[in-house]
Symmetry: C2
Subunit: 388 residues, 2 copies
């Protein structure tokens, strides 16, 4: 069978392959990107599911519209405006099947084969692969400890003035955990305007902040409808329900809706109704506060364990998100390190998995602190230390 | 904003636009493709949802793998093999976000811009648009009262020997309701082998048969892994949960899995578990039997109403599915007819919406008999008759 150009080179992501790997039951995984199951509001969701089944099962089980369940769209839009300051009258919001689908629909809607997309290096592999699957030419701008380097972005745009899209995760970047300061966000937007480039701001981790002050999303600074904002319910409610959203100018949302229609018609309607009811009947901010408290302990536990067991490695303690990005001592190759770590019953993701350059090497590894318990974090990092 | 070639011409489907239309509350819609809400096993689903929330909420709300929930994959595969005779050792099965996503993933995995896809004319607009969104060149082969005309297919393949894919709905075709006989299925497969063409068999209506004998799917005749089989839970359980599946050769399913990973990561896990439990704990065949009894009455009601109110129109009474395809008397244009029908408070879909040739005209309309009640069918067809 002859595959299309776009998928001929598409390989299953290293992360998901690792998630699937049949593992020794004693293996500790620091390789996931999962929230903690302790962070799911399961009891409230159970009550709401029972309520929906008793009041309106037919409506929740029937076909819906591709834009998403109207009350959820409206409530989400209101929350994003009130809490993040993002969204203009000329914008619209579509419910998607997770934040991942925003990247997919953006690529499908904007990218022709060979178009240049500027992104951070390293960056989230799922997004890079979605862009690759539409034939994008990825140009990586290094993270400089504070997200995408603005001077690097300017150089990339000068080299690729025709670039179609800038893909960025400005807040608690995956995998580095870095946060782009306000000044860089403003400059990124100015550069995008200067070169006529669209910006895709991927922001699934925003509310998982464990210290410091919140910085407005780039979308909140967007006056000319240049920014597509990708949000997600995966990290603040639950990922298995596959719900996220895109906020962008109306004309673009209309095209994304047409693209979504032919992709999966609409997202799971039952859980769209459930999430809307959850936000209406419960205090989602209080719930997120509990998640933050849970993850802050785990982040601090991982930081302390790294200081204890891997003192010669280098890392920045992230102010939020799910990940710690660790540079191995002596420039050791991350892929080789992760391979041998697995034999020591601990899993991490090699930094090379996050590079726009598929043949690149990295001396870093990504560690997740949201899924393992503090005890597992302590043992896992100890095992990583013994692998040095 | 400059859109990609592939979506620049993609318009929201006429059907979904009609579904969304703010309608007079007295308007009767015969324009949908929805199952009846009376056909959802809502009480059983409510019990199973409560069971999942009480036994394994964390597992059902967490990230899953892109292939789908393993027990559901296995149970579905077993059922498809035992009931339809389809599936070989060299095949694999992936759970998708509705049957629509099978068409999307097939197009993404196989179609390069400009590739020829042979399909029935008329055919399901959602699939045609999914194929268009990957730049497919659609070549329509007329339905001849018994599905895709085999001689027409041979001519189309002779004219387009490089055709990449044959897309067919051989059983209760949408919109015509026609069934391709076994001899034509065998010949289609021989022609596909002769020209090295892949076949996508879209089969969401198979089990909604109200008379006559079941015919094996083309996939059951597939000895060399040429056929991709698209199945759906939308019409036998509920569409709002967005679950379907693809059964195809392993190599292709692996590529589709990689493509799905970057599209929506995986389908809603909670309902994957729920559907698996439904098939395990309840009698799905008995449930489908009830759906069949319900729809048979509605089909017969519509046939009788057409005889009464539109005796000069022409239609074939379909042995299954959800639709009646009605040729208007005197070659009247379907689009104009549907527009004026809406003013008479009844909605139908013009035949032109289903043509691979987007500029084509049609003297037919598609009527749905699954969603309206028998009384609504009677009144709706009476209103259609008054519009002649």
């Amino acid at each position: 069978m002859v595959f299309s150009h776009r998928v001929a080179a598409l390989k299953p992501s290293a992360i998901r392959e690792i998630l699937k790997a049949p593992s020794d039951p004693e293996t500790i995984t620091l390789a996931a990107g999962n929230p903690s199951p302790d962070a799911f509001p399961a009891a409230e969701m159970a009550a709401l599911a029972a309520e929906i089944f008793s009041t309106n099962p037919s409506g929740a089980l029937q076909y819906g519209i591709s834009e998403g369940y109207t009350p959820l769209r409206e409530r989400t839009r209101k929350r994003v405006f009130e809490k993040y300051g993002a969204g203009r009258d000329a914008d619209d919001l579509i419910i998607t099947s997770g934040g991942q689908q925003v990247v997919e629909l953006t690529a499908k809607t904007l990218i022709n084969e060979g178009d240049t997309v500027i992104c951070e290096t390293p960056s989230f592999i799922g997004s890079l692969n979605a862009l690759r699957s539409y034939g994008a030419n990825l140009v990586g701008v290094p993270c400089n400890g504070a997200g995408m380097d603005a001077d690097g972005l300017e150089r990339a745009l000068r080299d690729h003035p025709e670039a179609k899209l800038i893909y960025t995760i400005p807040t608690f970047q995956n995998p580095t955990g870095e946060v782009m300061p306000l000044s860089s966000r403003i400059r990124l937007l100015e550069l995008a305007a200067q070169y006529g480039t669209v910006v895709l701001e991927d922001d699934p981790y925003r509310e998982l902040r464990y210290g410091g002050e919140a910085i407005p999303p780039i979308k909140a600074l967007d006056t000319d409808g240049r920014v597509i904002y990708a949000g997600s319910f995966s990290k603040i409610i639950a990922p298995g329900i596959r719900l996220g959203y895109a906020l962008a100018q109306k004309e673009l949302i209309a095209k994304m809706t047409a693209a979504k229609q032919v992709s999966d018609v609409h997202s799971n309607l039952f859980f769209q109704i459930l999430v809307e009811r959850y936000m209406a009947e419960y205090d989602i901010d209080a719930h997120i506060g509990k998640c933050r408290a849970l993850y802050k302990i785990r982040r601090d536990t991982m930081d302390a364990a790294l200081q204890k067991y891997m003192p010669d490695a280098r890392w920045i303690v992230p102010e939020g998100g799910l990940f710690l990005w660790v540079k191995l001592p002596g420039g050791r190759d991350g892929t080789e390190f992760c391979r041998s770590a697995k034999e020591k019953k601990v899993m991490a993701v090699p930094g090379s998995a996050f590079l726009p350059d598929e043949n690149g090497a990295s001396d870093a590894i990504r560690l997740n602190f949201s899924l393992p318990t503090p005890k597992q974090i302590e043992i896992g990092v100890e095992r990583l230390g013994s692998n040095l």
